[in-house]
């Protein structure tokens, strides 16, 4: 079975006032695996996720997602691959405040025609997902996005990440804005849905207590090294 994510000998340097280099000798995530990546803020996790999503390009090494080496793609093809095969959930500010919850979910599909084609009726699928994630239809259809609680917003974001059966779900501290009870509930729902759509789940968090829900746990400091140098 091919790996969902495969990084070999990757190095990336942010060119800025403070240069910051992330090096990942090796990282492999099996297809369908639920991997917990433990990382404190500043450990380079956002950089790692940006590399996997193909938003930034490593200066060295290869990032292979779902069998495709991202370095061989043109920027527009990388954006397309991200839209089609990856669903992303952030800690917060997951949604466009001026679009409705439903529009936020469907927006993902407008960048991913293949995901759109996989669905019969997009709105029905969106409502099915939000219902499975514990949101009432009325809320998804009629509420203003800004009226939703953070927990509700995270569920809408999860539905957006899951819609159209992407290969990979990337979650960057998705539960950190939630209280302890909601955290577990949210994780359970997210995992169940990821399993149902057959997606690989890569979650990054600083909260080691969440690790027990996952198939495998890695500490970011074990797989990656970071170096800060003021030039």
């Amino acid at each position: 079975m091919k790996a969902a994510i495969d990084l070999k000998d990757v190095a990336f340097t942010w060119q800025g006032r403070t240069r910051f280099t992330l090096t990942v000798p090796h990282l492999s995530v099996a297809s369908g695996e639920k991997l917990f990546l433990l990382g404190q803020s500043g450990s380079g996790k956002s950089t790692l996720l940006s590399l996997i999503c193909g938003i930034i390009q490593p200066q060295r090494g290869a990032v292979v997602v779902d069998g495709v080496n991202l370095s061989t793609l043109r920027p527009s093809a990388r954006d397309r691959l991200r839209a089609e095969r990856i669903g992303v959930i952030f800690q917060m500010f997951n949604l466009l405040p001026y679009a409705s919850p439903l529009e936020n979910i469907l927006l993902q599909l407008s960048f991913a025609p293949e995901r759109r084609r996989r669905l019969g009726h997009a709105q029905e699928e969106a409502l099915r997902l939000t219902a499975a994630l514990g949101l009432e239809d009325q809320l998804v259809l009629n509420a203003q996005t800004t009226e939703l609680s953070i927990g509700q917003q995270q569920r809408v974001a999860a539905a957006r990440a899951l819609i159209g059966r992407p290969k990979l779900i990337i979650a960057d501290e998705p539960t950190s804005s939630l209280d302890a009870n909601s955290q577990v509930a949210f994780l359970d729902l997210l995992m169940a849905q990821a399993e149902e759509v057959g997606a690989t789940l890569l979650m990054v968090s600083h909260d080691a207590r969440l690790a027990r829900h996952f198939d495998r746990t890695l500490d970011l400091t074990d797989i990656a090294t970071t170096k800060r140098h003021t030039s």
């Binding site: 527009s76 991200r82 992303v88 960057d172």
Partner: protein
């Protein structure tokens, strides 16, 4: 399509700043179009100051000068036309009608024009409109006077009021021994007629009959005595001529210009008017330039608004990138927003202009004699409106390009 929806929703979510920006552009567009309408209206009104007159004849000077003093009552004639010459011209077979004009005196700052009652039939403006009486009738008695609308309004004259004509244009000598009585007042025309006091040609002769050189003679002649005298003028200042057919105009013009007994000049009013307008045209261009700058200012305001919104929208752009939007798409989103704003502003500006025109047209006509036609935008104006939208899009490219690079640099998460 989704972009258009997003752009629309994003704009609606910032209703206050967006509508203020749109309103600023709309006002500038309305101003620009208004200036265009006024400009073409003023030009048309100006060109229509006198119509129906084929030639204006005066002593030889410049065409514009002759037009200025005979029609606009600005400046003075350097010379007169002798009555004999005037008669020679008036009796030409090509001439259908002629109206002599005798200028030189004034009344409280308004010019006094000695002419014949035929003037009120022959003088046409704004494409053939005739002068009409608001009150009373044309002069019939020797000491009757007709006042233009501005004169009546400024000096508060009623029918049968007595007025005294001053000698010359700016002098303290009054023809107070021979007062006039107002027999009629004219409707507003928006032409120099409004600022003129009309008396008969004979009356001009009568009030000057006991004058010699620049002053009053020793033995004066009373107003009653003068009625018994021969009052044929010795000279007139200018004359309006109408020919039988338009084909004869140039032949008659040549004949007058080559008249051997006296150096004369005959001009076509339309030609002289356009010469004069080309002198005024500088102010016209200045007006257009100012309104163009106002439009540019409003568009720059929009660019500034988009720029200032960029920082708080970085998260939004990073999010769009994360779910698969290309940097190009984000640029397009900002440009679409600007295009929507410009389009709305242009439509609103046109609405403002036409409601304004519709509401103010009658008042502008009454106050300034400026008749503004309410017509759909001219091809030139459509071009300008399209240009405003295009300029709005171009101006928004600056913040859009910045957004492009920001979204590339920020990656998935905005760094703090």
């Amino acid at each position: 399509m989704i972009l258009l929806r997003l752009a629309l929703k994003s704009l609606l979510s910032r209703a206050v700043t967006v509508s203020l920006t749109i309103f600023a552009i709309a006002l500038s567009v309305a101003l620009f179009l208004g200036v265009e309408k006024l400009r073409t209206g003023a030009k048309a009104s100006f060109a229509d100051t006198i119509s129906g007159t084929d030639l204006i004849v005066g002593a030889r000077s410049g065409g514009v000068q002759l037009l200025l003093y005979s029609v606009f009552r600005v400046g003075n004639a350097t010379n007169n036309v002798t009555w004999q010459s005037y008669q020679d011209i008036a009796n030409r077979p090509e001439v259908e009608w002629s109206v002599p004009l005798s200028l030189g005196d004034s009344h409280k700052g308004f010019r006094v024009l000695g002419t014949t009652p035929e003037f009120f039939e022959r003088y046409k403006y704004r494409g053939g409109r005739s002068v009409s009486f608001a009150d009373g009738v044309a002069f019939s008695d020797l000491f009757d006077a007709v006042v233009g609308a501005d004169v009546a309004a400024a000096l508060g004259y009623q029918l049968d009021d007595q007025i005294v004509v001053s000698h010359g244009v700016a002098s303290f000598t009054e023809h107070d021994d021979k007062p006039f009585q107002i027999s009629g007042a004219l409707e507003k025309t928006g032409t120099p007629v409004d600022r003129t006091v009309f008396v008969s040609l004979e009356a001009i002769e009568a009030i000057h009959i006991d004058w010699q050189g620049g002053g009053r003679a020793q033995n004066t002649i009373s107003a009653d005595d003068v009625r018994q005298m021969q009052l044929t003028p010795k000279a007139v200042t200018a004359a309006m001529i109408g020919t039988n057919t338009r084909l004869q105009i140039f032949g008659l013009q040549r004949w007058i210009n080559e008249y051997a007994q006296e150096p004369l000049l005959a001009i076509l009013p339309g030609v002289a008017l356009s010469e004069l307008w080309s002198l005024i045209g500088v102010a016209e261009s200045a007006l257009v330039a100012v309104s163009v700058m106002v439009v540019i200012t409003a568009l720059l305001g929009m660019a500034a608004m988009i720029f200032s919104g960029l920082n708080e929208r970085r998260r939004e752009m990073a999010l769009l990138r994360a779910i698969g939007a290309r940097p190009w798409t984000i640029m397009l989103l900002l440009t679409t927003e600007a295009a929507l704003m410009s389009l709305t502003a242009v439509a609103l500006g046109m609405g403002l202009l036409y409601t304004g025109l519709w509401g103010a047209r009658a008042r502008i006509d009454a106050a300034f004699g400026l008749y503004i036609e309410i017509t759909p935008p001219s091809p030139r104006e459509w071009l300008v409106l399209g240009g405003v939208i295009l300029a709005g899009i171009l101006v928004s490219l600056l913040p859009a390009i910045r957004a492009y690079f920001l979204s590339l640099a920020d990656g998935m998460q905005v760094k703090h």
